[in-house]
């Protein structure tokens, strides 16, 4: 069995004291696996992703990402860890409105010399290559303002951004909830295929249990989270 890239144990988190959102004794994401994490809205999914990404700090417990215990790292080091090893896709509004399509895809490279170094050719060419793998080849499309793209197109640009520079972990937080069924299945297939190709572990979060069939393994947040608050 592959090494875990994310390992969570005895994690507790509360936005406000006494109002616990997360209480997880054990959760793991292994290298290269594609994991489906199901959770109802308000179940603390986004909070858990925030903690794994090192943007939020757990109140107690251990969160180990790529062998590093996040609790022992300074905020700036956690930010560097995220920049170098994590790709993130949100539910919607994934793109920076004032950057071009290509500018959005190459954005992580501005913050990570490591991911920049992982690219052999030019950054823009790599962005185009990733976009074309995700089905965005039309040059006129790439020249448009990102706000003029359809939601499905925006999500693919976000996927390209998460994948550029080959991060070990890709986190997707309800990336398909704004898509219709066809676009959704197509998006998931493209994303998992690209993740497989780059060897990234994919942590895909959704409330829709029906999507679980697309993945290697499925975990229900409601089962592993003892806090069970619907905040």
């Amino acid at each position: 069995m592959a090494e875990p890239v994310v390992s969570v144990s005895n994690l507790r988190f509360a936005w406000m004291p006494g109002n616990e959102v997360l209480d997880i004794s054990d959760f793991q994401l292994r290298a290269g696996e594609r994991l489906f994490l199901r959770g109802a809205s308000g179940s603390g999914k986004s909070t858990l992703l925030g903690i794994i990404a090192g943007v939020l700090e757990a109140d107690s417990g251990e969160v180990i990402v790529l062998g590093q215990d996040l609790a022992t790292l300074k905020p700036a080091v956690r930010d560097r860890l995220r920049a170098d090893h994590l790709g993130v896709i949100f539910q919607m509004f994934n793109l920076v409105p004032y950057l071009s399509v290509i500018g959005n895809v190459t954005l992580p490279l501005r913050f990570s010399p490591k991911r920049r170094a992982a690219i052999s050719g030019s950054e823009d060419d790599e962005a185009r290559r990733l976009l074309s793998r995700l089905g965005l080849t039309d040059e006129t499309l790439l020249a448009r303002r990102v706000s003029d793209l359809s939601v499905g197109q925006q999500q693919r640009v976000a996927a390209a951004r998460a994948l550029i520079g080959g991060p070990e972990i890709v986190i997707a937080d309800e990336p398909t909830s704004a898509l219709d069924a066809d676009a959704r299945d197509q998006f998931i297939d493209l994303l998992s295929e690209e993740a497989r190709r780059t060897g990234a572990a994919l942590l895909f979060v959704s409330h829709d249990a029906g999507l679980a069939t697309h993945f290697d393994r499925a975990v229900d947040l409601g089962e592993i989270n003892r806090a069970g608050v619907s905040a």
Partner: protein, 422 residues
């Protein structure tokens, strides 16, 4: 850092409309401040440049600023004159090197006419002891000769030998108040000086007396025109009065003593002033208004900087999403802080640059107008250290102001976590 700077720039470009308005607010406030400061120093330098080499100016008792203004700057008019014998007394004092009388009160098509002696052209100096230069022609010699300043020649299109008719008083020539029966002839044109000399028509003292033959009551005698030029030339044209006397001393050290002795003159009451001192007195009066204006314009700059702050603060809410995206792709919180501070700084810097540009274009346009109107060239209003300091100060203030929204975004990015919960 450069990655963040280019982000800041692209973000500003994305909000061109509102950014441009803020930029304009900053630019106008900077232009106002620099304008006030440059007008102040420019006018001081310009006035200070107008007369040099003259140690004392003697006139009838009045305010010292007033005497200076009408004798040198041709502003306002004399309330009283000095008698000719008194002039002779002054001129023959042993401590005096030279004394040039001037007589004012007439005009030619809006330009003031000054009666004086040919010595004036040698004694009057401006700027750093620069001499008056007769660019064309020569000093007046005949009774009805005139030497005109550069502006007079340019604006009225006069050249050597052009005839000219003087008018009584300082208004434009109107019916019945002109000296049309005593026409003058241009014999000399002075090189430009950037002082009121450029706007003056110089004639001899005798000419002033001559054109007033028949005007002894202050209005034109109906018989005045019947007196022929030949008859006038045969009169004793020694002036009865002069308006003021420019004085040079043998030894500078006696200036205070000489002034006191003239001021306490036993015969006709007199007043002697030191030009630079009278100017200083003038500036001490205007300084209060200047300081008030400067204070107001500094507040206007503050308003400009606050408008930068406002525009960033109001954009902050709609940019929350953008901030969490940046965080997600690896931006540190300090990057978010830097981004917003840089945006504010860029607006401040560009606004101030625009303001500096604006005021210099404006000065290039109005400088000649001021000079044409008052005969005073604004000096030292070109790009200078004050522009640089203002630029730096405004940029610095904008950076500091930007720290407020930057700090708010910094704090917020912690609370928002990875994804903004909508």
């Amino acid at each position: 850092m450069s990655a963040i700077l280019s982000l800041a720039w692209q973000s500003l470009m994305n909000r061109k409309g509102s950014v441009l308005l803020t930029l304009l607010a900053v630019a106008l406030s900077v232009a106002l401040f620099l304008g006030v400061d440059k007008a102040r120093t420019g006018a001081r330098e310009g006035f200070g440049n107008t007369i040099s080499g003259t140690e004392l100016i003697v006139g009838a008792p009045t305010g010292s600023v007033n005497l200076l203004l009408y004798s040198v700057f041709r502003m306002g008019s004399a309330t009283a004159e000095i008698s000719w014998p008194t002039y002779q007394e002054i001129a023959t004092r042993p401590d005096i090197d030279w004394a040039v009388p001037i007589s004012l009160g007439d005009s030619h098509r809006g330009f003031r006419v000054m009666g004086t002696t040919p010595e004036y052209f040698d004694r009057y100096k401006f700027g750093r002891n620069q001499d008056l230069v007769i660019a064309q022609g020569e000093p007046f010699d005949d009774l009805f000769d005139a030497v005109i300043g550069a502006d007079v020649a340019r604006e009225l299109g006069y050249s050597i030998n052009s005839p000219m008719v003087l008018s009584h008083g300082l208004g434009q020539a109107d019916f019945g108040s002109s000296h049309e029966n005593r026409p003058f002839r241009v014999v000399g044109i002075l090189a430009p000086t950037g002082t009121p000399v450029d706007q003056t028509v110089h004639v001899s003292l005798e000419a002033i007396t001559a054109i007033h033959v028949g005007w002894e009551t202050g209005a034109k005698n109906p018989l005045a025109d019947s007196i022929s030029e030949e008859t006038v030339r045969s009169f004793d044209l020694t002036p009865k009065t002069v308006t003021a006397i420019l004085v040079g001393l043998k030894r500078k050290g006696t200036i205070l003593t000489t002034r006191r002795e003239i001021n306490t003159n036993k015969g006709e009451p007199l007043m002697a002033i030191i030009p630079s001192q009278a100017l200083a007195e003038l500036w001490s009066v205007t300084a209060i208004a200047e300081r008030a204006l400067l204070a107001v314009s500094i507040f206007v700059i503050a308003v400009g900087v606050v408008s930068i702050l406002t525009s960033i603060l109001t954009s902050l809410n709609e940019r929350r999403r953008e901030m969490s995206i940046l965080r997600a792709v690896g931006a540190r919180r300090s990057h978010i802080f830097t981004l917003l501070v840089l945006e504010a700084g860029l607006v401040g810097l560009l606004g101030a640059l625009l303001g500096v540009l604006l005021i210099h274009v404006l000065l290039a346009v109005i400088g000649p107008l001021v000079s044409a109107h008052y005969g005073i060239s604004l000096i030292g209003t070109g790009p200078g250290l004050i522009d640089l300091y203002t630029l730096l100060a405004v940029t610095g203030a904008a950076l500091v102001a930007g720290a407020i929204p930057a700090w708010m975004a910094f704090r917020r990015s912690l609370a928002d976590g990875l994804s903004l919960r909508l």
